[in-house]
């Protein structure tokens, strides 16, 4: 087992920990904004995961997925944020 | 690649596209719709003739051989149901056109016609599908179209009803998908014939679980007690033509799916007891519900539920005779339900509603209507010499032949149900058709007979009359029909013909 494997393990471990932390914040809240942030973070982490998978396999099949996820995660979070803003205005 | 099999699915879709493009030209749109449905009817008639001897036609879509590609299969049962459905669809189409011409509908024709054609395609595909997932797709096409149709001329009540309808249907679809996953997990295929072969080797208990699961899945759509509640809350609220088609076809498609899956996939008799129990419950609960309804549509819907029970009863007998009875009953019920709903639609034109609480003396207002109602009513009640009597006799013969206390209970339930059906349906006659007519109904009659409505109304009445005639024809042609039914039942009860037709010789 060479360095690379250690590296992969470490990466997965760290990312996994990150995911768990994000989940914590996601459930905890308190604000909707926090959740939106978590949404974005999740997408980024997912993209990272897939990137690592790509590295692990040297397989280009998932690269399209990487890009699309990056974009779509952004779009989703942005829409949500916009909506949150409008909500704020409705309240005001 | 048998073209006949593709026509009922493809032509309506093309028609739908065309009529969507032609939405600015109503006449053309109607023409396209009628043409498409007529060609479907013709094709299905040919199919029926081709399969009348028990042959099973298949067509491998795209030319990929059976387990790989999608197979369209037409066995006698499918062909028969297709033919009948096509006729009903065509007639209802004319009714709809008449109503639009008369300007008595708030439904948007430019939306109605395309989606109606899509519905047709969905129904046909569901009948023809020889592949579990394709059946799912067919169901979804049909259901999506029905979602769109049930919200035509949306009012508060209709939106509410469509909500119940949509959510329940979605639930069944999800469960259907789950079932497909399970079947694929167990057999590694979704082709019905292939799966049938492979399920033969699967553990019996697991097969049983699957059988029950699919019974639930299709039972929801077929409104088997106790999964029927949604139906009387949703069907009657839609506009007449839609209720007619739904009541006539959608539940029957589900029943067809039950028959197909239970006979072909899980064709063992260990589920018969469950079926019989469900049948008893469905018959009795349904008709009891019908007794206390005031709205004719709701009454008919409950009657529909209860009579689904008869078909399940026949299926539960698990014999050729019973299956034949089911087939006859299916045909009879498709026609008679559409018939009654259409008549009720015409009544609504006079009464403005369909509630018995404020409806009297239709016989005086329109004798023709009362004849149109009375004949199918007799048929629904199973009174001779109508088709309903044929169906009941076939079922009772099969039941008496089968024996067993559960069967006898079911027969008793059937008798009670028939009696209560008579009570319920003739209650409509006595309360709504007899008696001194309501003044506003007479006014409405005058208003409708004079002025712009007449032409359209004539078409509507003609369509209904054709439907009545079709019902009588079914009764008169009971001989050939029963022959055909037995042929179909024979094919159903031993799936060998089906499987060989799909997988080619030497399967299993």
């Amino acid at each position: 087992m060479n360095i690379l494997d250690y590296a992969y393990t470490a990466t997965f471990a760290l990312l996994g920990a990150g995911v768990l932390l994000t989940m914590y914040r996601l459930v905890r809240g308190p604000s909707v904004m926090d959740r939106i942030v978590c949404l974005n973070t999740t997408s980024v982490l997912l993209v990272s995961f897939i990137a690592v998978e790509v590295a692990l396999r040297g397989d280009t099949a998932y690269i399209g997925v990487v890009i699309t996820f990056a974009l779509l995660g952004f779009v989703g979070s942005l829409t949500a944020a916009r909506f949150a803003e409008r909500r704020a205005h409705d309240r005001g | 690649m048998n073209v006949l099999l593709a026509v009922p699915v493809v032509v309506p879709l093309l028609g739908a596209a065309a009529s969507l493009l032609l939405r600015r030209a109503p006449r053309l749109q109607q023409g396209v719709a009628v043409a498409a449905l007529a060609s479907v009817a013709a094709a299905t008639a040919l199919l029926l003739r081709a399969t009348a001897d028990g042959a099973v036609l298949t067509s491998q879509a795209g030319g990929w051989k059976a387990p790989l590609g999608i197979t369209l299969v037409a066995d006698p049962l499918a062909a028969l149901l297709l033919a009948v459905s096509a006729v009903v669809l065509l007639v209802v189409q004319f009714y709809a056109i008449g109503q639009d011409i008369a300007g008595l509908s708030r439904a948007m024709p430019q939306v109605f016609h395309p989606i109606y054609l899509v519905l047709t395609a969905g129904v046909c595909l569901s009948f023809l599908a020889g592949d579990l997932f394709n059946l799912f797709v067919g169901f979804e096409i049909m259901l999506t179209a029905s979602y769109a149709l049930i919200t035509q001329a949306p009012t508060r009540a209709r939106v509410r009803a469509s909500m119940i309808y949509t959510v329940v249907s979605l639930t069944s679809s999800i469960l259907f998908l789950t079932g497909i996953a399970l079947v694929y997990g167990l057999t590694g295929t979704v082709n019905l014939a292939d799966a049938a072969v492979k399920l033969g080797g699967a553990p019996a208990e697991l097969r049983m679980v699957l059988a029950l699961l699919f019974l639930v899945v299709f039972g929801i759509k077929a409104a088997l007690v106790p999964m029927h509640f949604w139906l009387p809350d949703s069907y009657p609220v839609a506009i007449t033509r839609i209720s007619a088609i739904f009541a006539a076809l959608l539940t029957k498609v589900a029943v067809y799916a039950i028959i197909r899956s239970q006979t072909l996939l899980f064709g063992r008799d260990d589920i018969a007891a469950v079926l019989l129990c469900i049948a008893i419950a469905t018959m009795v609960v349904g008709i009891l519900g019908a007794l206390v309804q005031d709205d004719i549509n709701r009454l008919l819907s409950f009657a529909l539920v209860s009579h689904i029970g008869f078909m399940i009863f026949g299926l539960g007998l698990n014999s050729v005779a019973g299956m034949a009875g089911v087939v006859i009953y299916l045909v009879h019920h498709i026609v008679v339900q559409a018939n009654l709903f259409l008549v009720n639609g015409l009544i609504r034109q006079f009464a403005g509603h369909s509630s018995l609480r404020s409806m009297r003396g239709v016989t005086t207002v329109s004798p023709m209507l009362s004849v149109f109602f009375f004949l199918p009513a007799m048929s629904l009640a199973g009174l001779p010499p109508m088709s309903g009597f044929m169906a009941k006799v076939a079922l009772f013969q099969a039941g008496v032949g089968a024996g067993g206390w559960l069967v006898y209970t079911a027969i008793a339930a059937g008798v009670v149900t028939s009696l209560l059906t008579i009570v319920a349906i003739f209650r409509v006659w006595v309360r709504g058709f007899w008696g001194t007519p309501m003044p506003d109904m007479i006014e409405a009659r005058v208003r409708l007979k004079s002025g712009a409505h007449v032409g359209g109304l004539r078409i509507m009445a003609a369509a209904t009359g054709v439907m009545v005639a079709f019902g009588l024809l079914v009764a008169a042609a009971a001989g050939p029909l029963s022959e055909l039914a037995f042929v179909a039942a024979h094919d159903l009860m031993n799936g060998a013909a089906y499987i060989e037709a799909v997988l080619g010789e030497g399967a299993r």
Partner: protein, 124 residues
């Protein structure tokens, strides 16, 4: 032979359970959520019908077994279909909101009326 691990089975169980629970709520929006969750659940169970092979079904000449493309194809179709229907359901919710100010599923009026009856209306 090809059963997935317990973890995923648990995931499926949770998904179905929560989906059903959402489905049983009165607010149509939660029902929609329930449908979405159930859709996930169904697609997941489709996916779980084959061995957990991480190589995608691409004929790129890579060695090693590839995952079963069939469930993927079916799940793809199912996803799209579910999406379409969900959209319709949302439109329905919007419509309901137009009618009355919330998106709750009200009980059927005629059923309620009959439920209120104590005596059958006519026993002629």
């Amino acid at each position: 032979m090809s059963a997935p691990g317990f973890i995923l089975i648990a995931a499926v169980a949770v998904l179905y359970s929560s989906g059903f629970y959402l489905l049983l709520q009165r607010s149509l929006m939660r029902v929609v959520f329930g449908i979405v969750v159930l859709g996930h659940a169904a697609n997941l169970s489709l996916m779980l019908t084959d061995r957990a092979i991480t190589l995608p079904p691409l004929l790129t000449g890579k060695e090693g077994p590839i995952s079963d493309p069939m469930p993927q194809a079916m799940a793809l179709t199912a996803i799209v279909i579910t999406f379409g229907v969900t959209t319709f359901l949302l439109a329905l919710a919007y419509r309901v909101w137009l009618g009355d100010d919330n998106d709750e599923v009200p009980a059927d009026l005629e059923d309620r009326r009959i439920g209120r009856l104590s005596e059958p209306e006519d026993s002629s």
